[in-house]
């Protein structure tokens, strides 16, 4: 009987195991969907609030943003929004950027999303606790 790999005592199955995909794609897909679901009420709330504040001056806006529930929803919105944005833009970059720039584009996008999210949250908290 002929053996293909004389040296190995391992079965064909054990040699094949672990050589498939990274199995990480499904998780990103789920994260995108879950964050989308969270963003539906948050963004609708935000859009409605902005419409209600069309004629508001600075003070009215600040007083509104300082109410605890509004501060909370704004922080949640910023976190969810940039989380979802990073996931979405990652797919866009992976689809269209194939050169050596890809890694840098992904890094730059990720850093920008984290930085912007934290800047927005800090600004909201600064107003909330001022």
């Amino acid at each position: 009987m002929k053996r293909q790999n004389n040296e190995s005592m391992r079965s064909p199955l054990s040699r094949a195991l672990g050589l498939g995909s990274a199995k990480a794609g499904v998780e990103q897909w789920w994260r995108e969907r879950v964050s989308a679901l969270a963003l539906v009420p948050l963004t609708v709330w935000f859009a409605a609030s902005i419409i209600m504040h069309t004629g508001s001056d600075y003070l009215t806006f600040i007083v509104w943003l300082r109410t605890p529930i509004v501060s909370l929803l704004m922080v949640l919105l910023l976190a969810g929004m940039f989380y979802h944005t990073a996931l979405g833009l990652q797919v866009v970059i992976e689809d269209y950027v194939h050169s050596g720039l890809k890694t840098f584009a992904l890094l730059g996008m990720r850093f920008s999303c984290y930085g912007l999210a934290i800047a927005g949250i800090l600004a909201t908290l600064r107003i909330a606790f001022s």
């Binding site: 969907r33 989308a36 679901l37 539906v40 963004t43 609708v44 859009a47 902005i50 419409i51 209600m52 069309t54 004629g55 600075y58 806006f61 600040i62 943003l65 704004m74 910023l78 929004m81 940039f82 944005t85 979405g88 833009l89 866009v92 912007l116 999210a117 800047a119 927005g120 800090l122 600004a123 909201t124 600064r126 107003i127 001022s130």
Partner: protein, 133 residues
């Protein structure tokens, strides 16, 4: 066969430009484009919040820009991008749950997305202009 010419014209698979745009393909790319646009508007949101935290002067500068013609046009584009992405994403979530894959349903939901997102954009602007008075 001794044909060894290295260059022979081989048939190519049709490129994306060859296809006539269909509602399904247009909405598919529209969801991606509106998503990219919204990530730029997210930057505006942060700038706006940071300006509000910085004080009334910085805030009024942002407000003057948003109130200008260019600002209003950009805001209108942002409103439409938002509602289009919102409705399109809800359509996608329904697909992800396993519903609505029949061709008729796909076209019905596609036109619904177009109609509802346009209507919501117009309603939002009418409501905001009425409140501004």
């Amino acid at each position: 066969m001794t044909n060894s010419t290295p260059k022979r014209l081989r048939p190519l698979s049709p490129n994306i430009q060859i296809y006539r745009p269909q509602l399904t393909s247009v909405l598919s790319i529209a969801n991606r484009i509106s998503g990219i646009a919204l990530s730029l508007y997210a930057i505006v949101l942060v700038v706006w919040l940071v300006a509000a935290a910085a004080g009334p002067q910085a805030y009024s500068k942002i407000h003057v820009f948003i109130g200008s013609g260019v600002g209003r046009l950009l805001l209108f584009g942002g409103t439409f991008s938002f509602f289009l992405h919102l409705c399109g994403s809800i359509r996608h979530l329904i697909w992800d749950a396993g519903y609505g894959f029949e061709l008729r349903t796909i076209y019905a939901s596609g036109w619904t997305v177009m109609l509802v997102s346009s209507a919501l954009t117009i309603i939002a602007w009418i409501a905001s202009s009425m409140l501004a008075r």
